[in-house]
């Protein structure tokens, strides 16, 4: 006897998910994937040594190995999900399913859950392998205590991050663009928002260049009371201006303006690399913002210090543990796989397997590369995208601009979630981020795609599979 409607739906979802997972296992797709991932986790670190240090090897493991594995899984997820429905339609197994009391949405969702389950298993295995690899590397006798300490301090950690306040740079950028517009110097086909973004970026670059004899202050919100065991670090990346051979000299000062500094430390940095300065507890006041000043003590103009405008100096504090952070990163990656699976199932509901794979893969590539087509360098008079404005046909620019903008808007909500970068940076991935990522990548977008696909499947004549 059939059971109640709710439990019937659950049974159907579980049955379809189970079927999808089992087919992946029995068709040796799963074992092929595991082999490929194993090769990636084992062979890639052997081939890519980074800078030869333990730190470099750990970065390779986290960024390239884990990232590469996620990439491989992404490709296979797209392919498998495209095949999951399209193959059933082409080989007509779906005829035996849709004559049963299964709603197309139940069928779609069940397959999606099966693909998600497979990804969960593989991500877990990959994460465990990477973790084990790191631990094994740390346990080797040739690793020095200093290297271990650096790794524990900079990578195998999960610190909260505070970015410096923007100090009204955006407002200044708007004012600058308004001035340009008023003076008639802004190209007519350029949107104000794009010009403001460009101006903001330039302001940040200029602000992060500290000439000899100058100072630059960043203001941070207080981290509160970090606790007795938790240290506060200042992390920064800087380089000297080009062609300089003289050593740069500078001092970090921490303390409210107009008062004696609570903490002073000379600048010690590997140029181009990232550096960490530990701030004493006395320098951090729980209820007041933190002022961090860099003073360039150089005399020669060529020793201007340039801080990375994309990642200005930042405050790090606390440590929620690397293992938990790795798990959260894997969950975010799983969310992405869920979205890719939904995309593949949707195209597979419409097209044949290869065409669906091509379409889904193409869409993913376009979204990933959309930032490379963004309009840039628009504040130089009379140019757009590096071409002479007078010569470029307007319709080309219009198509370029509209498509880049539309795609950028569609991709932005998804692309803002990061997993590998914060993990390899030793930054804490909050559960809130994981939740938001899952809400968007695992519920909203797949829900929309699933509903669309269910309509498509319902409209399709599954008794007569077409050629496309």
């Amino acid at each position: 006897m059939p059971c109640g409607p709710a439990s019937g739906t659950v049974r159907r979802l579980c049955a379809t998910a189970h079927l999808t997972f089992r087919s992946a296992v029995r068709s040796k797709v799963l074992i092929s994937l595991i082999s490929l991932l194993f090769l990636t986790v084992v062979a890639l670190p052997l081939m890519l040594k980074g800078d030869g240090t333990l730190y470099g090897r750990a970065i390779v493991l986290l960024k390239y190995t884990l990232g590469g594995s996620a990439g491989i899984l992404a490709v296979m997820t797209v392919w498998m999900s495209c095949q999951a429905v399209s193959r059933d339609v082409a080989e007509r197994q779906i005829q035996l399913v849709v004559v049963k009391p299964v709603h197309p949405l139940e069928l779609w969702t069940g397959k999606w859950l099966g693909i998600l389950a497979m990804n969960a298993v593989l991500l877990l295995l990959t994460g465990a392998a990477v973790y084990a690899h790191i631990r094994w590397t740390l346990a080797r006798p040739e690793v020095t205590a200093e290297e271990r300490a650096r790794l524990a301090r900079e990578i195998l950690t999960a610190r909260h991050r505070i970015a410096p306040r923007s100090e009204g740079m955006l407002e200044q950028a708007r004012q600058y663009v308004e001035q340009l517009r008023a003076a008639g110097r802004l190209p007519g086909n350029v949107r104000v928002e794009d010009a403001v973004a460009e101006a903001h970026h330039r302001l940040r670059v200029r602000r992060n260049a500290v000439a000899p004899g100058e100072e630059r202050t960043w203001i941070f919100d207080s981290p509160g009371d970090p606790g007795s065991r938790s240290a506060v670090f200042l992390r920064f990346r800087c380089t000297a201006s080009a062609f300089s051979t003289a050593a740069i000299k500078g001092t970090w000062l921490v303390g409210p303006p107009g008062q004696a500094p609570l903490f002073e430390a000379p600048l010690k940095t590997a140029l181009g690399g990232r550096s960490l300065v530990r701030l004493p507890r006395t320098a951090v006041q729980p209820d007041r913002p933190l002022h961090v000043t860099f003073r360039n003590a150089g005399k020669d103009r060529s020793t201007t210090v340039l801080f990375d405008p994309a990642r200005e100096p930042e405050l790090l504090y606390g440590n929620t543990g690397f293992t938990g952070n790795l798990l959260r990163a894997l969950l975010v990656l799983l969310g992405f796989q869920g979205l890719l699976g939904a995309l593949g199932l949707s195209t597979g509901s419409l097209f044949s397997g290869p065409v669906a794979t091509f379409t889904a893969g193409g869409l993913v590539l376009v979204f990933l590369l959309v930032h490379t087509f963004s309009p840039g360098n628009i504040l130089e008079e009379g140019t757009a995208n590096g071409h002479d404005h007078g010569e470029t046909p307007p319709f080309v620019e219009a198509i370029h601009r509209v498509s880049a903008r539309t795609l950028g808007r569609m991709a932005a909500p998804v692309m803002r979630f990061r997993a590998i970068e914060p993990l390899s940076d030793g930054l804490h991935i909050p559960w809130l981020t994981v939740g938001r990522a899952w809400l968007l990548l695992g519920v909203v977008y797949p829900g929309i795609l699933g509903a669309l696909s269910a309509c498509l499947l319902r409209q399709r004549e599954l008794g007569n599979p077409g050629l496309l």
């Binding site: 797709v29 092929s32 490929l36 052997l46 081939m47 392919w79 044949s352 290869p354 065409v355 091509f358 193409g362 087509f373 840039g376 995208n385 590096g386 071409h387 002479d388 010569e391 470029t392 046909p393 080309v396 370029h400 050629l467 496309l468």
Partner: protein
């Protein structure tokens, strides 16, 4: 003598039959490959991406089309890899699974002839794709921005008119193939491909009548013909990849075939980095890899075209010979595999 004559006649007759069978099977394989929707999609995508490169990418002063050249050849390589892998799988492993191969082998066709004909058909389809890709790269390179110092043209000039004509080719090809399909019910994909190829030739020949500003000018195609040998080398590499894919298809399905072919591709590109491995086990492994995996760097010589460089005919011949030897070895293994596989 009479007996010798008769046995000689029999040998010639058999050769004639085998060559007719080979030709028939190869043509059929090629038709099957180019009629797949995915073939047309990949070809059109490579064409469109190559055509868009000079339009969308930023150029540095002094590049003179290098980015477009390198991108076009890279698209040819990567898309060609997927075309080769998919065509090989359709030609062999899917037919083995569906049982159509059994129908063919029930006729007096030898397995070796069948296997080699399949390879020839796949190689021919890859060559057709490469022809489209090379023509597109030639035209895209002409489109790319140049610094001109002429009477009518001065400054950084992009040949927008050729770009528009080039981008119109796939649109027109699809439209005409659609009309043909509507009126005559002809196969859409193969006609679209044919019109695509013809359209590219027409645009190439026609571009000679216009200068970069779109004005009538004395006939000058103004394309860099030295790109063609580089494209031919990539085509040879794709044919070698096709041989690998066809041989793998005797035992594996589509995804493992394409994946392993891609692995061969990736490892072959990095083959040079295996030279000089210091530790003993790694040195043995690296040496083995270098000997087994084709070194694709021999076929990828885009840098030789910088600053007006040309690829010498001798190098082209040597590398083509290297490719032929590789194909022979790979196909030999493929034949052995195919002869021993059970067809159910």
């Amino acid at each position: 003598m009479l007996q010798d004559g008769r046995s000689g006649d029999r040998v010639m007759a058999r050769l004639g039959t085998a060559s007719r069978q080979f030709w028939t099977l190869a043509v059929l394989t090629m038709l099957e490959a180019v009629r797949q929707p995915l073939f047309l999609l990949l070809t059109a995508s490579a064409l469109v991406l190559t055509s868009l490169t000079p339009v969308l990418a930023m150029h540095r002063f002094g590049e003179e089309g290098k980015l477009v050249r390198d991108s076009g050849l890279a698209f040819q390589f990567v898309f060609g890899l997927f075309i080769a892998g998919y065509a090989a799988s359709t030609a062999l492993s899917q037919e083995m699974r569906r049982g159509t191969l059994l129908t063919v082998l029930s006729k007096p066709v030898g397995r070796t002839t069948l296997f080699l004909a399949k390879f020839a058909g796949v190689a021919a389809s890859v060559t057709a794709f490469s022809a489209c890709a090379i023509l597109t790269t030639l035209l895209s390179e002409r489109v790319a921005e140049r610094f001109m110092t002429g009477e009518h043209l001065f400054g950084h000039i992009t040949d927008w008119w050729t770009a528009v004509r080039l981008l119109a080719v796939p649109v027109v090809a699809f439209a005409l193939a659609g009309v043909h399909h509507y009126r005559r019910k002809g196969p859409f994909t193969s006609w679209a491909l044919l019109i695509l190829l013809a359209g590219l030739v027409v645009v190439l020949l026609g571009s000679g009548f216009f200068d970069r500003g779109g004005r009538w000018a004395p006939y000058d195609m103004a394309v860099q013909w030295r790109i063609v040998p580089a494209g031919i080398l990539v085509t040879v590499a794709l044919i070698v990849l096709a041989a690998i894919a066809v041989s793998l298809s005797t035992r594996l399905t589509t995804v493992p075939t394409v994946t392993i072919s891609a692995l061969f591709f990736a490892v072959g590109l990095a083959a040079e980095s295996f030279r000089g491995a210091a530790e003993q086990p790694a040195a043995c492994l690296a040496g083995l890899v270098r000997r087994i995996v084709p070194n694709w760097q021999h076929f990828w010589v885009c840098d030789a075209l910088d600053n007006g460089g040309v690829i010498p005919a001798a190098y082209l011949a040597d590398t083509a010979f290297y490719g032929a030897v590789l194909c022979a070895g790979i196909l030999f293994l493929g034949v052995l595999s195919f002869r021993s596989v059970d067809l159910k």
